[in-house]
């Protein structure tokens, strides 16, 4: 497919859609689907048929619009009705409501189901990565093309050199959204420059590439589902981002590593790959250019450590997901010994809009060092839970109290946890801190992949630390000693504290151990595992002290025994 053909598809799809006066968007993301939203879509379809409105209105299954706590959600977008063009959002929709919704098309909204679209949950957000989630049908490539999909790929293939693409990404200031925030352009540049013959390689038969692009969709943080929503709701954008990355770094083959726990994302990505291949947007000679790029899905199998680059590579190679010391970094020595670019789903989803709208546009959003937006999975003790996308630099207060709607009745805010098991708990005193990589790191947490869990005054912070440490202990691969044995001992000490059996000596041992595991573990899992303990010790130390047993030991001369062991 070339640019003209792409434009033709976009045009005819838009034309077809313009013929309908009403579009009913039903969320079929994992959370709404669990509440039978697919049945609602069928019921709406049936109601349209019954009322003879098929020509007038269309039902579309779309990805997650974000407000999961009010699901199942149905959005009705009307070109023209008594009130002019407008959108309505219906919450907690049931199959029985379908007929009523259809009956009210073009007329008065169904008041009992309506939830305002101008509430802060929506108005305070800024959607780039999620702009298509809730708008396009993730199972139809034409729908994606109609909103400008694959235009960015065509643009780089026909108008830009690989170096120009890398320069554009560099200038945009985009940083990795998987957690550490490494500058994306720098990473691309390193892979592009890397010599595939520097290290001995071992590429399997049948794979024609000496460099690789890996999309990291192994979203392992408990309480995080940003990448899942993007893969489910807008899979083509991920593919487009990968192909652009492949062109920029000189790779002809890409892998998407997805958790097996995300069957819907896997299914939609598979469909998307098939469609893109059929349309000539993946495969050989894309857009009539010499560039070839294929994408394959690899399933994770339940190992958090595989989110770490080198462990992920070991897993794709078919082995135990063990990390290895870096350097050499995957950019030079990666999959089967080849230079490999590993980017997170959200990072790659940012690429097409940057190419289309330009680096300057992207760099105008966010803060000085953190550009663009960040997607968060807002969960825990807030009124509105779900998926949000906000400009970098927004404050935690705005996220929790404006977008999240604050605490449920009668509860007060205690802390917000970001970064999952690798992050930290941020207390109320930092609510007005801007959310960016540096500020979060300064208070002992991390941006992480975007889990944001709000905790109220009833939350036991020692228990929170223990919960995360149990997670890291179970997920430690066991290769290096500090992480394998250290997390076990930290967990043991935290349990001892919880049970009121710990002494001040134990608290000191705990702090020393956290320091050890943080600084001597082989990979990011171990290096960040103590963060939840360190941050709760820092901000909620009195909760630890309240559970500590005062040491009863008194020496013969009546002095308290302070220093022992």
């Amino acid at each position: 497919m070339n640019l003209e053909e792409l434009n033709a598809i976009a045009h005819s799809e838009r034309l077809a859609q313009a013929q309908k006066r009403h579009h009913l968007h039903v969320c079929v993301g994992t959370a709404c689907q669990a509440l039978n939203s697919e049945q609602i879509a069928k019921a709406l379809q049936a109601a349209l048929k019954q009322r003879g409105l098929q020509q007038d209105a269309a039902v579309k299954c779309v990805g997650c619009p974000g407000l999961c706590s009010l699901g199942p959600l149905v959005e009705v977008i009307s070109k023209e009705d008594s009130a002019g063009p407008r959108s309505l959002l219906y919450q907690f929709v049931k199959t029985e409501d379908a007929d009523e919704i259809v009956a009210h098309l073009g007329g008065e909204p169904v008041k009992r189901l309506e939830t305002p679209l101008d509430q802060p949950f929506f108005t305070r957000q800024l959607k780039i990565v999620l702009e298509n989630c809730g708008k396009v049908d993730p199972e139809r490539i034409e729908d994606y093309i109609a909103v400008g999909g694959y235009q960015a790929l065509m643009k780089v293939l026909t108008e830009m050199t690989p170096q120009q693409v890398i320069d554009e990404i560099t200038r945009s200031g985009l940083r990795g959204r998987g957690g550490a925030g490494f500058p994306t352009g720098l990473k691309w540049g390193t892979v592009a420059k890397a010599d595939p013959n520097r290290y001995p390689t071992n590429v399997p038969e049948g794979i024609q590439s000496r460099k690789f692009v890996i999309c990291n969709g192994d979203e392992g943080d408990p309480g995080a589902f940003m990448d899942r929503s993007v893969m489910e709701g807008d899979p083509h954008r991920v593919l487009e981002g990968m192909a652009i990355a492949g062109y920029a770094v000189g790779a002809n083959y890409g892998f998407i590593y997805v958790r097996a726990e995300y069957p819907l994302a896997v299914k939609r990505l598979r469909t998307a790959i098939r469609q893109a291949q059929r349309a000539g947007l993946l495969g050989s000679n894309i857009g009539g250019t010499p560039f070839s790029f294929n994408v394959e899905i690899r399933l994770g199998a339940g190992a958090f450590v595989c989110g770490e680059e080198t462990a992920l590579i070991a897993s794709i190679e078919g082995g135990r997901g063990l990390p290895r010391p870096r350097p050499p970094f995957p950019a030079e020595f990666g999959l089967w010994g080849c230079p490999t670019l590993i980017n997170n789903v959200e990072t790659l989803a940012n690429v097409p809009p940057i190419i289309l709208k330009g680096a300057d546009w992207f760099a105008s959003i966010g803060t000085e060092k953190s550009k663009g937006t960040k997607v968060f999975a807002l969960t825990g003790q807030v009124k509105h839970t779900g998926l949000i996308e906000v400009p970098m630099g927004i404050t935690l207060r705005e996220i929790v109290f404006d977008i999240g709607g604050g605490m449920p009745e009668g509860k007060s805010f205690k802390a917000v946890q970001t970064g999952g098991p690798s992050g930290g708990c941020i207390p109320a005193e930092f609510l007005d801190m801007p959310v960016d990589y540096e500020s979060l790191a300064k208070v002992g947490s991390i941006m992480g992949s975007g889990g944001m869990i709000v905790m109220d005054d009833s939350t036991d912070m020692v228990e929170v630390a223990r919960f995360f440490m149990e997670f890291c202990m179970d997920e430690s691969c066991g290769k290096c000693i500090p992480c394998r044995a250290g997390t076990v001992q930290i967990h043991r000490l935290l349990t001892k504290i919880q049970q009121g059996r710990a002494t001040e000596r134990d608290l000191q041992t705990l702090e020393e151990l956290c320091d050890l595991v943080k600084h001597t573990s082989l990979c990011g899992l171990g290096q960040s595992a103590p963060n939840p303990v360190i941050s709760t010790l820092k901000y909620f130390r009195e909760e630890y002290l309240a559970k500590i047993k005062r040491e009863p030991s008194v020496s013969a001369n009546g002095k308290r025994v302070e220093e022992h062991g």
Binding site: A303, R320, R324, P325, P327, M473, D474, E475, S476, C477, G478, K479, C480, I481, P482, R484, A485, G486, T487, V488, Q489, R492, T509, E512, L513, L516, H519, T520, S521, L522, G565
Partner: protein, 237 residues
Amino acid sequence: MARTLTINDQEISAAEGQTLLEAARDAGIYIPTLCHLDGLTDVGACRLCLVEIVGSNKLMPACTTRVQEGMVVYTDTPRLRAYRRQIVELLFAERNHVCAVCVANGNCELQNMGIVVGMDHVRYDYLFPKLGVDLSHERFGMDHNRCILCTRCVRACDQIEGAHTLDVLGRGAHSMIVHDMNVPWGEATTCTSCGKCVMACPTGALFKQGSTVAEMVHNAEKLAFLRAARERRVWNV
């Protein structure tokens, strides 16, 4: 091409491509290791050889870090010493290491490491896991109580003998060395009974049957000899 660098304020020269560990040892500077064994590839897992490199905010394993021109390295700072002792204590607490009744008593790298790091006691709770002893092989035995999961045996079996009888089962603290598909050693059909795993073992986890307390000697250097003989036709006798 030679590289010049400083280790512990001592200027040394090293060959390009050498690891910090090799360069340090050539210069007579000792860096403690457990998972490293001459003749096997390095995995950087035990973290005892971590060193401080000026200009890097991370501690780097000497066994996998290559020398660079002008590098300034410290291998024995108070901070590193404290970390090393903690790591060795974690190992002693993890499984059931009873030096007094061990075949490797007096010839054990873990026991020696305790002395090197100045461990007079273990501050962590001993975990006392219930682990087995496999005596099904006619000549050798494996006592999981004494295993530190350094994977030297796994690498020796794969890289030098080529049988790959051994691998690691499970993960994290539940990791265990296995023979074939977790069968008793004596029933492992891929095992050639060459004994290289026993040579590679730093502790008394792998031993020759019939040896009693303090009788076990490992001959780990035989593995480096074998590799040199096979790959470079060099017989260091």
